[in-house]
């Protein structure tokens, strides 16, 4: 029987929630990596037992963890537990090494970016925000990091190389950190074109590569951001999240700092589709697994007040690709709710009746097994949820 595995990253560890296809009864395991900030966990589409996790700490830096058994056991790639030498001669202790590539051959000079106060600031690696496994190869995985850059591993996370064409795009001095830091938080791999990928950076904007990550171009035409000196600038926009309609890969949706946007042409141009949303600030956006024009957002009151409007936690669904939105409240708290839903904390499964999931900074993870009509909490009291990903298991 089919089932789902929900991978939850929180401020103090990771949790794995599993259920059968009914998504009514849940097993909860964790905390894994107790006490560590778990920014993101994601499973390989090519091998569901392969899961990558970003474990990070302001004290101890960045760690990459990997599971080859669906999250039962974990290890640092290239560093098997209890062994001091790699069985295949791979470099030791390299899996947590993210060094910007400044080499003459493949790298880009380490420039500066704009800091909060407008001065230029050195590029400094801080953590991995997002891990995106290849759609076809379990050993290939991409990492979006702060300060913004894109890394790739082709050996299961043992070693990492920067795809420096992005950081070296030339607009770096105009990029600036959002409130959470200058992070590359979204990586979308195109299922129809192996050479095409999208990333989003706060606050630089969205970028696309059509040559497997070597060269990049900003795709921010149509975005308007009144909070930057030039609202129509090529870069500098605070894009919070991009989601792709996988059955129509040129159809993209975006939750920007303010504004919900849509693109029919793989990001070449964007149109606002906020429509009747009560507020169009927010972080998450996702697309129904089987209906490319059914999308979900969780409106947040404002950039200064990161909680739902009126203390009512509401998911909004549009079945027309935006503009016309309906509020979804059944099973969600409708009073005194002041949590946030962070940008990587919404996901969908691909069961026949699409399940939608999201986690909150109050530690709840909600599931709707009926595409958003009704909701119930899987867990209520986890640490603040950073990320939610779902694996649909055969």
């Amino acid at each position: 029987m089919s089932g789902v595995r929900v991978l939850v990253g929180t401020k103090k560890g990771a949790f794995i929630l599993t259920s059968d296809g009914k998504r009514e009864r849940w097993d909860v395991s964790g905390p894994h990596f107790a006490g560590w900030e778990m920014y993101h966990l994601k499973g390989s589409p090519a091998d569901p037992n392969r899961i990558y996790a970003s474990q990070t700490s302001g004290w101890f830096g960045q760690i990459i963890q990997r599971s080859d058994d669906g999250g039962k056991t974990w290890f640092q790639p290239g560093t098997p537990p209890g062994e001091t030498t790699g069985p295949d001669g791979s470099p030791k202790g390299e899996s947590n090494k993210f060094v910007y590539d400044t080499s003459h051959e493949t790298g880009a000079p380490l420039t500066t970016h704009q800091f909060y106060d407008g001065t230029q600031h050195p590029w400094e690696f801080k953590r991995v925000w997002h891990l995106e496994p290849s759609l076809t190869d379990p050993n290939t995985v991409y990492a979006g990091v702060e300060d913004a850059a894109l890394f790739r591993s082709t050996n299961g996370g043992k070693t990492w190389e920067e795809l420096s064409g992005l950081r070296g795009h030339g607009t770096g001095p105009q990029w600036q950190p959002g409130a959470g830091g200058m992070c590359l938080h979204t990586i979308v791999l195109d299922p129809a074109n192996k050479d095409r990928m999208f990333v989003a950076i706060s606050a630089a904007g969205a970028f696309r590569s059509d040559d497997a990550g070597k060269n990049w171009k900003p795709i921010n035409k149509g975005l308007k951001s009144p909070y930057i000196p030039n609202p129509d600038a090529e870069v500098g926009h605070c894009v919070h999240r991009i989601a792709q309609a996988t059955s129509r890969p040129e159809l993209l949706y975006m939750q920007k700092h303010w504004d919900v946007m849509r693109s029919f042409d793989a990001g070449d141009s964007w149109t606002e589709v906020s429509g009747n949303l009560p507020t169009d600030f927010g972080f998450v956006i996702d697309v129904h697994a089987h209906e490319p024009e059914t999308i979900y957002v969780v409106p947040i009151k404002s950039d200064g007040e990161h909680y739902p409007l009126d203390g009512k936690l509401r998911v909004y669904r549009s079945k027309s690709g935006g503009n016309e939105w309906e509020e979804l409240t059944k099973g969600l708290p409708q009073s005194n709710c002041f949590v946030n839903v962070l940008r990587d904390a919404m996901a969908v499964d691909s069961l026949d009746k699409c399940g939608v999931y999201f986690g909150t900074t109050g530690g709840q993870v909600y599931c709707s097994p009926d595409a958003g009509d009704t909701w119930s909490p899987i867990v209520r009291d986890l640490p603040a949820v950073y990320s939610v990903e779902v694996q649909t298991l055969a």
Binding site: I63, Q76, T84, K92, F125
Partner: protein
């Protein structure tokens, strides 16, 4: 020489050890040689105590030797006899900084 090292709880969990760890040092016993030996013995700790790129101590970690803060001393400074001979441990301490 056998040198004792006391690690923060999170690093003990990462290295999958309980209590103190010991490392064998040949030549000068310094924080540098202890860290080199520690990372060789527990490669999962690479990058966690000192930055991968700069090899500098992470700012929220401190080194204590015989009740003195050695965090800002040269890493290759010889450690005193009680630590060099294993009578006392080298303490790697995480800053108390909330979280």
């Amino acid at each position: 020489m056998t040198v004792r090292v006391e690690l923060p709880a999170h690093l003990r969990a990462l290295a999958r050890v309980k209590g103190e760890v010991t490392v064998e040092i040949t030549g000068t016993v310094s924080i540098l040689s202890v860290l080199d030996a520690l990372e060789a013995q527990y490669p999962m700790l690479e990058g966690t105590i000192r930055d991968h790129g700069t090899r500098q101590r992470r700012p929220f970690l401190r080194f204590f030797v015989c009740a003195e803060d050695w965090s800002h001393d040269p890493l290759d400074k010889p450690l005193p006899e009680p630590v060099a001979t294993g009578k006392e441990p080298l303490l790697v301490v995480g800053a108390i900084a909330g979280g």
